[in-house]
Symmetry: C2
Subunit: 161 residues, 2 copies
DNA sequence: CCAAAGATTTAGTCTTGGCTAAAAATAGTA
DNA sequence: TACTATTTTTAGCCAAGACTAAATCTTTGG
């Protein structure tokens, strides 16, 4: 991770309309891709945790079968993920019992939820219709850095909200 | 995939500030998650294809080693992905030669690139700084539906651009 | 023209996040 | 209580996308 700049070739035509990488060092670009890959790794975890929090708040408990139904995956898949989330200390669960969030899990859920709402609000504020705002926010929320979220909030503050 | 609506429970407190799912049927939510999962599957493919296009445009050819460097992954990883992209008829490649895009690949790259630019422009328009706009766009671009992109363009049209 | 450097390929491993099918436990009801 | 339905768990499968190490091919400088 230290071969900055100077790559043998002569960087021809700056290509102003096209290539994204035309204005970026390989290193900087690589780090962006790494960041995106990292975000992708957390996506699924955050989705599960946020949904578990929703279920607890709505129905008083989070059952595996409900998580599966809402996520659109099989029960077996949820079960395996529950083990992982336990290992990550985001939830606790005993055999054949429903799922609870740890402090860390609850915090992650709150965070996710807040991001989700900001993203939906921003999408709506720039003219995206409801259905698409909700659907796309599900993916977008995981890729917004704190700085980007902060900018969204400032924007919403200024522009009506 | 047909157990719409009516889920045994009584849906208590609407919970207006919190749970995302509070205003959405399990089905609708599941389909949002499915959409996000699908987008996630295409992300990597699009990243590779877009980057290959960039390299071809900038340097006249896309070498495996350059793709690896810019993406921040190993050469072996790129090599395996090249096989997959070939099978998907997005690129062509002969052993030990550099990589070319098919028509479909070129089209996908153009598409990706356009989305990328729109997303960056929108982020900047709502006040995100350059570095974060570029970094976050790398992840966000893959989760914007055509409708959302169209809304972004309308917004940029109206607000300076 | 040939040896070293550089690029590509192959082989084998790992984790994640899905799936199905079937077994075991719990819950609900006649 | 016993039977049935539901839920949870287990086992085993698969593909994607990353890795390292080592083999093979190409390019290049002396």
């Amino acid at each position: 991770m230290s071969d900055s700049g100077a790559d043998g070739r002569d960087t021809p035509a700056p290509a102003e309309g096209g290539a994204v990488s035309a204005r970026m060092s390989p290193d900087r670009q690589a780090s962006h891709f790494r960041r995106a890959r990292q975000a992708r790794e957390m996506e699924v975890v955050e989705d599960y945790v946020e949904l578990i929090a929703d279920l607890i708040d709505e129905q008083g408990e989070a059952r595996l079968v409900d998580v599966a139904r809402r996520l659109g995956v099989s029960g077996a898949t949820v079960n395996k993920m529950v083990s992982r989330l336990s290992e990550m200390s985001l939830i606790t669960s005993e055999p054949y019992r429903s799922i609870f969030l740890t402090e860390a899990g609850r915090a992650m859920a709150e965070d996710s939820r807040a991001r989700h709402h900001i993203v939906v609000a921003l999408l709506r504020a720039v003219g995206v219709d409801d259905e698409n705002a909700w659907a796309d926010a599900e993916g977008i929320e995981h890729h917004c850095s704190p700085e980007t979220l902060a900018a969204f909030e400032r924007f919403l503050e200024k522009h009506g909200k």
